[in-house]
Assembly symmetry: C2
Homo-oligomer: 423 residues x 2
Amino acid sequence: MNIPQSNLPRVVIIGGGFAGINLAKNLANKNIQVVLIDKHNYHTFQPLLYQVSSSGLEPDSIAYPLRKILKNHKSSFFRLAEVEQIVPETNTIVTTIGEITYDYLVIATGTKTNFFGNKDIESHGMPMKTVPQALNIRSLILQNFEKAAIANTNEEREALLNFVIVGGGPTGVELAGAIAELKNNILPKDYHDLNPDDMKIYLFEGSDRVLSSMSKHASKKAEAFLKDLGVNVNCNTTVTSYDGSKVSTNSEMVMESETLIWAAGVIGDPIQGLNKDVLIDKANRYKVNAYNQVLDYENIFAIGDIALMECKDYPNGHPQVAQPAIQQGKVLGKNLIRLINNKALKPFKYKDKGSMATIGRNKAVVDLKHYKFGGFFAWFVWMFVHLMSLVGFRNRVVILFNWTYNYINFDKAARLIIRPFKK
Amino acid sequence: MNIPQSNLPRVVIIGGGFAGINLAKNLANKNIQVVLIDKHNYHTFQPLLYQVSSSGLEPDSIAYPLRKILKNHKSSFFRLAEVEQIVPETNTIVTTIGEITYDYLVIATGTKTNFFGNKDIESHGMPMKTVPQALNIRSLILQNFEKAAIANTNEEREALLNFVIVGGGPTGVELAGAIAELKNNILPKDYHDLNPDDMKIYLFEGSDRVLSSMSKHASKKAEAFLKDLGVNVNCNTTVTSYDGSKVSTNSEMVMESETLIWAAGVIGDPIQGLNKDVLIDKANRYKVNAYNQVLDYENIFAIGDIALMECKDYPNGHPQVAQPAIQQGKVLGKNLIRLINNKALKPFKYKDKGSMATIGRNKAVVDLKHYKFGGFFAWFVWMFVHLMSLVGFRNRVVILFNWTYNYINFDKAARLIIRPFKK
């Protein structure tokens, strides 16, 4: 794939998510040749995908060109490709644009949506892990509004205005809240040919509370916020089938809906070629040691969501969110430099900075180690932390302006069907 | 199509471009039922499409939801549809979402790209009249850069880095300049695996000067600006064929190129059903009288690019740019109100506010009636006029910020391949 030969050790990083870019940044200009491979030419700020889906933010403001991240790194290279296979025997990977050898390989491919083998839901449900997927949801919601305005029967209109979200984790909760704001703030203004009361938002969660990875305090507050906004919250309920119109659940609840968004789980997206035993079956994560080295391999590493580092505090691995990925990327950067210089590696230790979720305007929940809170201040903290975590000054300013504008005007201004979604 | 029946006279407007939205705004809350129909749910600010193509602006900042334009208009309705036929005998139009009757019909469908019957160029060339088309060009340019970085032969790399733009009107000139800025400012920073000198931009114009609708002064300055930026300008040259790789011209110039952008002409996009004699064949524009009434029809009007109003100052009709469309939309709004109230109509009189084009950073040309100028001040005027013409405060601020950011940083920050373009 045409990477210049050099005497520098070559680190190949697969994936430009939080883990991959933080690693790449830490290897910049350190006498290491870095090759960053991704199937998109941009980094996606996944925590804000739901705002793209709900017309709050434009897609370009949560995406950042990967080449721009590497721009001052003289010995770093970006390649737009998908990796098809790892051949550890020859230190080679096979990609859609050819083969490349590595001295050190880092797998940072993250996760994809887990449909738990349900083919029906996979065919008809909407995942939300990438920018194009988020844009598909945005188009579908807006197309449904347009179709509802000309629906001939109440049944048809009902199915178009029922929005079903499966999964009560942060993604599902945040998206349900944002879609409820479309109902509350946008329909009355822009769709005077629709009755906002006809629009219903259903959130389904299999466990007994939303945000089950957070404190009970947060779950309770989040559920109250969701109900405030008019979301129909159903815990202890799983969606069992969806054929594109009929939604069935494990309770007696059944409904017609043109939109089912699936945010009920993720699964690792591993690559062919490594000894299967190093993979954990259930979540498809690579088992790694405290240095993020994939077990059995000296020069292959995994970081971020795809890595399973079992440790005392996290016997089932770290949470699959941005912070562990960012921290592992940074630490592995330093460790690779140590390794190349024959120095001892330092084990990874996760610093839990807390967790948070936003449900809507002035409504968020934050869990810190010793302090849990919700409401306006939590919402403000959520915004600040997300703005600061964004890559790039331009994106930060555009997002801050959009948030301010939307806040003042009770608006979600990016209500554009640029590419219609074909069901 | 489910528009409420009322006693108000109904005006159906086909097309939400400059003409259509200015008409709709002027009919708001005037005891008239307005139905605005468009195949997109947003208004496109066409003069800035080329900045989307060249990664300077995000698509969402030049698009504005049509429903938002109508939001305080209680008796105005938006419908997302394509119009298939006009049946003047029954005052009905047939659309993709059903039929609707009108008391007054206004055709504001604008123009589409004119390939002058060349099927090869139509299949392989890239038009740039809509946001999705502009995004296709953005993706293709960036994909070509990525492919060039891994090209195996010089010929392959050359074809990927040759960018051919056909048509030396404002669109072609502005796009050529913007692509040249990618070469000059972005390749050296972000693509250190490419040699910027390998990238070539060719502009072809059939007449003897670029910007032939403007003054000779403007043409001369624009050509000098383009050459400054490294654009290869070829006047008196037409592209005769393009098969997706080989470009042939009417001179001996021949080249291989993966990208040919066609900005060489537009043609009206009329609708089936009206007496063909009222159409001018060559440009497919509806002949209208001084009140924008389509000849032979009492209650059918055409405004904007699709209307051909022959008058003393403009024997071949008004220029097909934003200003005549905006002004005709406003004047027809007042005239329709007069018509409904049985008052005498006032003829349309075009106020020429001048014309302008920008070639790049600090480089623009402006023709006013008594004053023609170019350079930094012209560029500043160009920006100011375009900002002020944009619909919506949010879009203005986002664009102003992007321009400022890109200006300071010599950047074009939206270098994202969100949906890859498949050739």
